[in-house]
């Protein structure tokens, strides 16, 4: 789309867009292309003897039990994080939406975790769930008689990074749900109330269906968050351990590439992640377009 009335200038528009294009080419397209090339090449750790090997890096990944385990771990981690963060956000937002008088105050108290870095969120939760000092772990051990130890037990470590990641993401979801709820026409809710629908029924039959675009959007964003932006949580708290039990895909790319110096495999993993992101983006835009046609 463009304006009907535009300016006439020969060089100015190119000059204006130049910084953006240069940075995009240098730091997006060239690295993406380079990554693609590297994923088809086998080279030793010192960069010599590059050999073109078609899809062998990819095939090796699909045969590698460690990679498949990492895929599984990532799915469990991202789905649980998204579910926990979205349901808490929705619950708090629907409560806050009822509390008309205190809405601004409540929002202030609930939005600040958004500003906490994932790595710091990890530190806070590590302290709460620490096997020897953590307050929460003491209660878990006492009440459930479990031997809680996220430093040694893989499942406990997974629970810890899920809590740390979801906690930070609640505010994000809260803000979107509140905005979505405020966009629902009051008249709909009032009409349903006059027809005798209880607040619960109104929530299930009116609010929630009308929030479904927000819900869909947030599911995508939360899963992307869990896939990529939780790197800081993993790196500060578990470093992929214990025994690879929290080694999510992004962390594995980093480990194989920067620590293991396995260029080919790391690039192939990057390419797979990139394809996944592109797929998600396309799906999301398809969905958004559909929604626009439906309402228009």
């Amino acid at each position: 789309m463009i304006k009907r009335s535009v300016f006439q200038a020969r060089f100015l528009p190119y000059f204006l867009i130049l910084p953006q294009i240069l940075i995009t080419l240098t730091f997006f397209y060239w690295p993406a292309f380079q990554g693609l090339v590297n994923s088809f090449i086998r080279s030793d750790a010192f960069g010599g003897h590059a050999k073109f090997i078609w899809f062998e890096n990819f095939l090796a990944l699909f045969r590698d039990p460690l990679y498949l385990e990492s895929v599984f771990i990532t799915l469990v981690f991202s789905l649980s994080t998204a579910f926990l963060a979205i349901s808490s956000g929705l619950f708090l937002a629907s409560m806050a939406n009822r509390a008309l008088r205190a809405k601004a105050v409540i929002r202030t108290f609930l939005i600040w975790p958004y500003a906490v870095a994932p790595a710091i969120s990890g530190i806070l939760w590590l302290f709460l769930l620490h096997p020897s000092f953590g307050l929460v772990s003491i209660f878990i051990n006492k009440w459930f008689g479990a031997n809680w130890n996220p430093v040694l037990n893989g499942n406990d470590a997974m629970v810890m990074i899920i809590l740390a990641s979801a906690w930070k993401q609640i505010s994000y979801n809260f803000v979107f749900f509140i905005a979505g709820m405020q966009a629902i026409p009051k008249s709909l809710i009032e009409a349903a109330a006059i027809d005798g629908a209880s607040p619960f029924r109104r929530f299930w039959k009116i609010t929630l269906p009308l929030l479904s675009p927000t819900l869909f959007f947030l599911s995508v964003m939360n899963i992307i968050f869990a896939f990529f932006e939780t790197f800081g949580v993993i790196h500060t708290v578990t470093q992929g351990g214990p025994g690879g039990s929290t080694n999510i895909l992004v962390y594995k790319v980093y480990q194989d590439g920067f620590v293991g110096l396995d260029l080919g495999s790391s690039s192939a993993q990057s390419v797979l992640l990139m394809s996944l992101i592109i797929l998600i983006t396309v799906l999301q835009f398809r969905y958004v377009e559909k929604k626009v046609q439906y309402t228009g």
Binding site: I2, L12, F27, F33, A99, F109, I111, A117, M274
Partner: protein, 306 residues
């Protein structure tokens, strides 16, 4: 409220307060820990009270984590990203919306394609790029025998080694994160809603394009810019993977990265009070920005991801 439901209202507020307490608990507990001396913080369980060692722990954290340097680095990085991103995308969006030129569509699509590609999925090649930004140009340079041409011009033997290293520099921390389609897209959407008449009037009055940009578009974009300042400041301050990769010099580390050195490991003295004091200092700036610019923050968050 549509009807009177006192019982439900009671539970609403009860759940809300519980929710706020649960969400705030990790921080409250961390604040408690940061005010206690080492003997108390390493008790099991830690006594739930506020001590008087807050300033002592803060000072200790400040010194041991070299927080002065690191907070300064974080500040430079975050503000660099904010200023860079907003100016680059304002100009880009202005070019795409208000001019008609041959490569306009291609420019828009090529920027738009990078909308969702986070730095995390292309870390190795981007790192190589940062190690030498001119790397890709070297083969071209050699292919064209520009060395020879230069030598001929200067009548001297010249060998040019194209090298621009961004590792351990502010430019390296900032520049790769400045390119972002989200901001450009947001400004484009906003510019499209500005009435055509404004541009026509400006043209009739004989304003140049840049004059129109400065006197009309910039003032109109104020709220959008404020919203992006909040979002991008938080984004820049909280970056993890990129600064971790490209900084090896301790003097260039950002604050969020530096925190990891303070976390007590298995065999260390469990100085959680110091580690948490440092964590509190480091998380404070973005929290303050979000709370004080709350109105713009909420608007920006909801607008950006539409």
């Amino acid at each position: 409220m549509v009807e009177k439901t006192p019982l439900l209202d009671f539970f609403t507020y009860l759940f809300l307060i519980t929710g706020i307490v649960i969400v705030g608990f990790p921080i409250i507990y961390a604040i408690m820990a940061s005010t206690l001396p080492l003997e108390e913080v390493s008790k099991v369980p830690m006594p739930a009270k506020f001590g008087d060692q807050f300033l002592v722990n803060m000072a200790s954290a400040w010194e041991r984590g070299d927080l002065g340097t690191q907070l300064f680095n974080s500040l430079v990085m975050a503000s660099g990203i904010v200023i860079g991103k907003i100016s680059v995308s304002l100009l880009g969006a202005f070019s795409i919306v208000y001019f008609d030129y041959r490569f306009r569509k291609i420019a828009f699509v090529s920027v738009f394609c990078t909308l969702m590609l986070p730095v995390e999925v292309r870390i190795l090649p981007t790192y190589e790029m940062a190690a030498n930004v001119f790397g890709p140009l070297q083969p071209l340079w050699d292919f064209l025998h520009l060395d020879g041409i230069l030598s001929w011009i200067a009548q001297n033997e010249i060998e040019v080694d194209l090298n621009w290293n961004l590792l351990d520099s502010y430019t390296g921390l900032i520049l790769p994160l400045v390119a972002s389609a989200t901001c450009t897209f947001l400004f484009r959407q906003f510019f499209l809603t500005i009435p055509e008449e404004l541009c026509e009037a400006a043209k009739i009055d004989g304003a140049s394009p840049m004059m129109f940009f400065r006197k009309v578009l910039l003032p109109l974009s104020k709220t959008n810019i404020a919203a992006l300042v909040v979002i991008e400041f938080v984004y820049g301050w909280n970056q993890y993977l990129w600064p971790l990769l490209i900084t090896t010099d301790p003097k260039m580390k950002t604050a969020v990265i530096g925190l990891q050195n303070l976390i007590p490991q298995a065999d260390d003295i469990p100085e959680w009070n110091v580690a948490l004091a440092a964590a509190l200092i480091v998380m404070l700036p973005p929290i303050l920005v979000v709370l004080f610019m709350q109105r713009w923050f909420v608007k920006g968050l909801v607008d950006i991801d539409k």
